[in-house]
Subunit: 139 residues, 4 copies
C-alpha cells in the first residue's frame, strides 16, 4: 500500500453561500493529493503526460461527512491500495480537518491512455519501478 | 418520475490542458440541472433556502463515459425517481453531447437540513405539493 | 461598434460565503459573453483555434459595483468598440441584474497568437469579414 | 510597506485547453496571497469576518505577462504599499515562476464593510495595530 499526505487550505472562492467548501471542488483537492503523492515518488504526473501517457478520469465517488470551511487546513491522505495492473487504477482520498476528524472520503478511477495512438495503455514502466517497493510484501 | 432537461455550453475556463471538461466541474452542471429542474416546478432552490431549508450534499457518484469539449452544448437530464420521503433525496443526472451520445452519468444525494435548528429535516410541504403529481400513479 | 447580449444564471458553486458571486468568477462570465458574441457572427472561437489562432489574455480590468447573488439571471453585454487592427483587441463587458442595474463593468484585452509559429498575429480574415460591417460607417 | 510571499502550485483543473493557468483563476491566487499575508501578521481574514468586518472586492486589475503551466510552483508576492486609511485598501500581487520571471501582476481594491449595519467601515483597530509597525518610518 502506498500512502501520502498533503495539506490544503480552503480558499474563499471555494466556499459557497452555505459557508461550506462547495461539493464540486473536492475533486481539485483529490487531484492535488494525487499529484503530490506522485511527486513524492520522484516522478510527476506532468512528466507522465510529457512522456505520452495521460490519465483521464473514468469514475469518482465522494462521501461528504462533515463540512469544510474557509481557511480550514485540510489534510488530504491519498492511498493506492494496489499496484496498477490493467488499464485503470483507483486512488482513494481521505480528508481530515484540524481536529483530526474525517470530513470526506472519495475514490477516483483513472485510465492510462495514449493520446497519440488513441488507445488505452498501462502503468508506464518508470512509474511501476518507483511504486513496486510499496507493494512487494503483499500477496 | 420527474424528468427535466437543461442545456449548458462548456466554458473555456472549465476545460483542462487535456482539452476535456475537467472532471470536477461536472458537479456544477449537475447543480445547474437540479436548480433548473426545481425552477420548472415553480419553486426555486433559492426560495427553499430563504424559507429555512438548505440541502447540503451527502454523496456523489460520477461516471465519465466520453469527454466533453470546449463549446460543446451539453444536454443535462435531471431525474428524480422517487418522491423524497426521509431526510435525504437523490437526483440522477445524465449528460448528452450534441450527437445524442451519453457522455456522463451521475447521482447526487442531498440532505434536507434546517441550519437554525441545526438538525436534519424533510422535504418541505410546498415542494412536496408541486412534486407529488409526478409520482401519483406509482406504487 | 459591435454589441451582443447573453444571459447567465449564477450557480451555487460560484457564490462564496459572503453570499456573493465570487470576484474571480466574473472572468468566466466575460468569457462566455465573448464566446456567444462571436457565435452570433457565425464564427466561433473554437473554430478560430482550430484554424490556428489562439487568443491568450493580456490584461483584465474589473469594477464590482453591486453584488450578484445565487440564481440571479445576469445580462452580459459584450462590446467591441473598434475593429481590431493590431496584435491585440479589447472586449468590454457590462453586467446587469434583473432590475436592470449595472452591477459590474470589465474589459479584457486579448492577443492574437499563432501557437505553431509561436508569434503574435492579427485578426484572421474570416473574422474581419464578419465584423467589418459593424464598423463601416465609423471614422 | 508590508510584503509577504506564499507559494502555490498550479492545479490541473485550473489549466485550460491552451495549457495555461486560466486567466480567471489568478484571482484565487491573489486571494490566497492576501489571506496568507494576513495570517503571517497573527490575524486572519476569517477572524476579521467573525468580528464583523467583511471585505468585498471593489475593483481588480491584472496583467498577464507570461503563461503559468500545470504543476508550476508560483511565488505570490503580496504587497501593501500604504496603511489603509479610508473605506478601501489596495493589495498588489506579483507572481513569479520557478525561473524567477515575473509572470503576472495584479492589484485588488477591497472595501471594509459592516454587513449588519450595511455600511462601509474602516480598517479594524486590531489589524491596524499589527500593520502599523511596517509603515512607521514612512511619511
Amino acid at each position: 500500500m502506498f500512502v501520502h499526505e498533503t495539506k490544503i487550505r480552503v480558499r474563499y472562492g471555494e466556499t459557497d453561500q452555505m459557508g461550506y467548501l462547495y461539493y464540486g471542488y473536492y475533486a481539485l483537492y483529490y487531484e492535488q493529493g494525487r499529484g503530490d503523492a506522485m511527486r513524492s515518488l520522484g516522478f510527476t504526473y506532468k512528466e507522465l503526460e510529457e512522456q505520452g501517457t495521460i490519465m483521464p478520469v473514468a469514475s469518482m465517488h465522494c462521501e461528504y461527512l462533515r463540512p469544510a470551511h474557509y481557511d480550514d487546513l485540510i489534510t488530504v491522505k491519498t492511498i493506492l491500495k494496489e499496484l496498477p495492473d490493467g488499464h485503470f487504477t483507483t486512488f482513494h482520498s481521505e480528508l481530515y480537518n484540524e481536529a483530526g476528524k474525517l470530513i470526506n472520503r472519495g475514490s477516483v478511477t483513472l485510465a492510462f491512455f495514449d493520446p497519440l495512438a488513441k488507445r488505452k495503455t498501462k502503468l508506464p514502466e518508470v512509474l511501476r519501478n518507483v511504486l513496486a517497493p510499496y507493494f512487494k510484501n503483499e500477496p
